[in-house]
């Protein structure tokens, strides 16, 4: 099995001394190729922080993030940015497409920023759009696409070219339930084709599309199958 992403003892603290707030505490998590892991937890549990750290957008206070064999702690910010463009893509609740670019240009953008030739980037972008069944909308602008279609463009952008890690934060939050299901179906299909991903959600019905479901409670990953008694509940109350 190929490990695409690994978090090793990751902790995140905001502030210092008595006012310090711990967002994550000793989190271990790894994502294999072909695996979708759902991260569930209440608002403020630290699940979104976990995602931004996994994607190299935030540097953890301690611990290690390893993206496709690259140890982020040993890399420069520009090196991390280049790795991000090459290896992973985010899918957010509000799609985050560039309104002035067409669907195919949005998908090709990370490749072009990474120095790909225009024609090659466009061709890879069309392949990615095809994988989410949107080839016929390639030259439409985001405004001309439905919410579900925009989110499928975002998924295509997350897996374009060599990118294989999808980091999705409540990707169906702004969609109605049947459209949301279609988006999850597309996400699942990309993962089955060899990508890997984290799906952050507070909705069990969406988490159920994942191979594995973990819970973040007060910054820690809780395995539901492990025995955790009232003591841990008291500690978290």
């Amino acid at each position: 099995m190929t490990t695409l992403l690994r978090l090793d003892g990751v902790s995140m603290q905001y502030g210092k001394g008595e006012t310090a707030v711990t967002a994550l505490s000793g989190v271990d998590l790894s994502i294999q190729a072909g695996e979708l892991v759902a991260v569930m937890g209440a608002s403020g549990s630290g699940k979104s922080t976990l995602l931004t750290i996994a994607g190299g957008l935030t540097t953890p206070t301690s611990g290690e993030v390893i993206i496709e064999d690259s140890w982020l702690s040993t890399m420069s910010p520009s090196g991390i940015a280049a790795l991000r463009r090459r290896a992973l893509g985010f899918v957010f609740q509000d799609f985050n497409l560039v309104p002035a670019l067409t669907a195919v240009e949005n998908v090709a953008l990370p490749l072009e920023l990474d120095g790909w030739k225009h024609r090659k980037a466009r061709s890879a972008a069309l392949d990615a759009l095809n994988s989410v069944e949107l080839s016929d909308r390639a030259d439409h602008y985001p405004d001309d696409l439905s919410g579900g279609q925009q989110q499928r463009v975002a998924i295509a952008r997350a897996v374009v070219g060599t990118r294989r890690i999808i980091l999705a934060d409540e990707p169906t939050g702004a969609l109605d339930s049947t459209t949301g299901e279609l988006v999850l179906r597309m996400l699942r299909r990309r993962v089955d084709a060899g990508a890997g991903g984290i799906l952050v959600t507070h909705d069990a019905r969406h988490a159920a599309w994942a191979d594995r479901i973990v819970f973040v409670r007060d910054g820690r990953i809780v395995d539901e199958r492990a025995r955790a008694g009232v003591d841990s509940l008291l500690a978290s109350s």
Binding site: A42, A204, A208
Partner: protein, 199 residues
Amino acid sequence: MSIRQSLLAILDQGPCYGYQLRTEFDRRTGSTWPVNVGQIYSTLDRLERDGLVTKAEADAEGQIYYEITAAGSTEVSDWLGSPVVRAAAARDELAIKLAIAVTLPGVDIAHVIQVQRAATLSSLQEYTRTKAATDDPESAEELAWLLVIDSLIFAAEAEVRWLDHSESRLARAVASGLATAVPLNTAVPKRGRPAKATS
């Protein structure tokens, strides 16, 4: 009793014999509710007794057809036009289990909740995998099956949400010292069967 009503609704489309009714019921509900042919015949007997269907003589192949009556058709439209009323009292086994557990000393309710949530999530994943394995429905039968799978998915989701809610309610109760066991009431119950006198 929705088997009774479902069979009646199928018979409203035309006369059927017992085994045929079972096949029709299965293909319209995605075989998610296994009904044996014995249940079909006993239901048909009751429908006949209540004047909602009539039984014809056996045909050349020995099949006995049942036909809906006018009263039966009325019952079908009444059924389709009225809501399903579930039992008002909480008869859900899980709700009762949690209710009892929370009153007992030394029971780790958080664990009870977690064990249940893990099991329910795993069923939810199973239903979702079943659904993910098929594409958009291409026939009315597939659509019917999908509706049933969706209902299982939404019910499991609701259970997980209720468990989450119960967990945080419990955490708050523990914090405020409310989550204490209810001891047995030692006062003599006013009613009940007295033990035999052992003189």
